[in-house]
């Protein structure tokens, strides 16, 4: 049963890594998304950067980060940084799309009734974009759960440890010990966040 305990521990480690990475990515993505709705000129550059980050193969990105001083190196911190870079785009893009998708008549009314920019953001734009933003977080979470298995390659731990170990020793049971829990977490996240999305949605 030590095996089982080991899997459980790795699962918790995995979930912890994903939560931290998605949490940071959401905070940055939402804030940046809001800022970009106010600055159309910067939109192309930031979305371009976030898009490029997503196209870098994940194993390569983890590798690239290792030699970078301060933020890089071997271990969990580097892994989380890479995961944040991946999770950023869906949150950022959905925040932007959600806010820009608010009916112009609603925005104009809000302005014409004497709401301040801050009030429009908090009382009109964010609530109306919340479903879209949450969908972005859901996509980011599910993909991060998968990508996080690669964190084991640079000593980040998590369920990827079993997968890499299984690959090295040609042991399918080991691979499955990593892959099955990861898939289960992803399904649970998808279902749970989807449920919140439908609950929260005002429309």
């Amino acid at each position: 049963m030590t095996q089982f305990g080991e899997i459980w521990e790795a699962t918790l480690e995995h979930i912890g890594m994903v939560l931290i990475a998605v949490g940071i990515a959401s905070a940055i993505g939402i804030a940046l998304g809001i800022a970009l709705t106010r600055r159309p000129g910067l939109r192309r550059w930031v979305l371009g950067f976030a898009g490029v980050m997503q196209t870098v193969p994940s194993l390569a990105l983890f590798g690239f980060l290792i030699p970078i001083p301060f933020i890089g190196g071997i271990g969990k911190r580097t892994a989380i940084l890479a995961l944040v870079l991946y999770a950023l785009l869906p949150v950022l893009r959905n925040t932007l799309t959600g806010i820009l998708g608010v009916d112009p008549a609603v925005r104009e009314s809000a302005l014409a009734m004497g709401m301040t920019e801050r009030q429009i953001l908090w009382e009109v734009e964010l609530p109306l974009a919340s479903r879209m933003i949450l969908a972005g977080i859901r996509v980011a979470t599910v993909t991060t759960i998968g990508t996080a298995t690669i964190a084991a390659a640079i000593g980040g731990g998590g369920l990827g440890v079993f997968i890499f170990r299984g690959l090295a020793s040609v042991d399918s049971a080991q691979i499955l010990a990593g892959a099955i829990p990861a898939a289960c977490i992803a399904l649970a996240a998808e279902g749970g966040l989807g449920w919140i999305e439908r609950k929260l949605s005002p429309l």
Binding site: D103, A105, S109, G114
Partner: protein
Amino acid sequence: MVEFRDVSYRIGAKQILSHLDLAIEAGETLVLLGRSGSGKTTALKMVNGLIMPTAGLVLVEGKPTTEWNLVRLRRRIGYVIQDVGLFPHFTVAQNIGLVPRLETWEPQRIARRTAELLAMLDLPPEQYLHRYPRELSGGQRQRIGVARALAADPPVLLFDEPFGALDPVTRHEIQQQFLRISRSLGKTAIFVTHDAREGMLLGRRIGLLSAGRLETVVEPAGFMQARGAEVEAFQASLA
């Protein structure tokens, strides 16, 4: 109450409004009549500072819009547009009570005011207060839009083709309601429309805009006798 002083507006080389001089007296409903692109909506949006003139001044209560704190100015001006723009995530009560809440009225006072406005618009409050805009018909939505604009009892009201998207029967009903309410409340109102019939029904005076210029200002009784290329075009539309 509201005055346009030699107001022009241009975007690049395109002249939207040219040298508009017009004073709207306290308590009157002035209709701005014109076809699409005549500049009537632009003129309207200058009153609450959604658009600033590129030349000239728009004065509200004697003060140019450029000197007003725009948030303060806008809370003193009710605004009703064709697309209504009710907040879809707010109930009817929350929509109507918005400006009073921003003005930090007591909750009981907001509730009283909201019920009073719904009753005035022939919408039984207990049936409508807790509904969402998507659960209303176009005509009901537009009446809620009017109630929202009236909520904090603003001295000035702006209407931008508010009834243009309604079916003819509903439009007629709301126009009658508008007349009844505007007579009893005595607000200063500017009403933009492209419908000469509506303009003659609702306006105490009609200002006719043509390609950004004010062609004439007439009372409804004199509308059919007025002379001018554009006013005659509108007369023909009534025949």
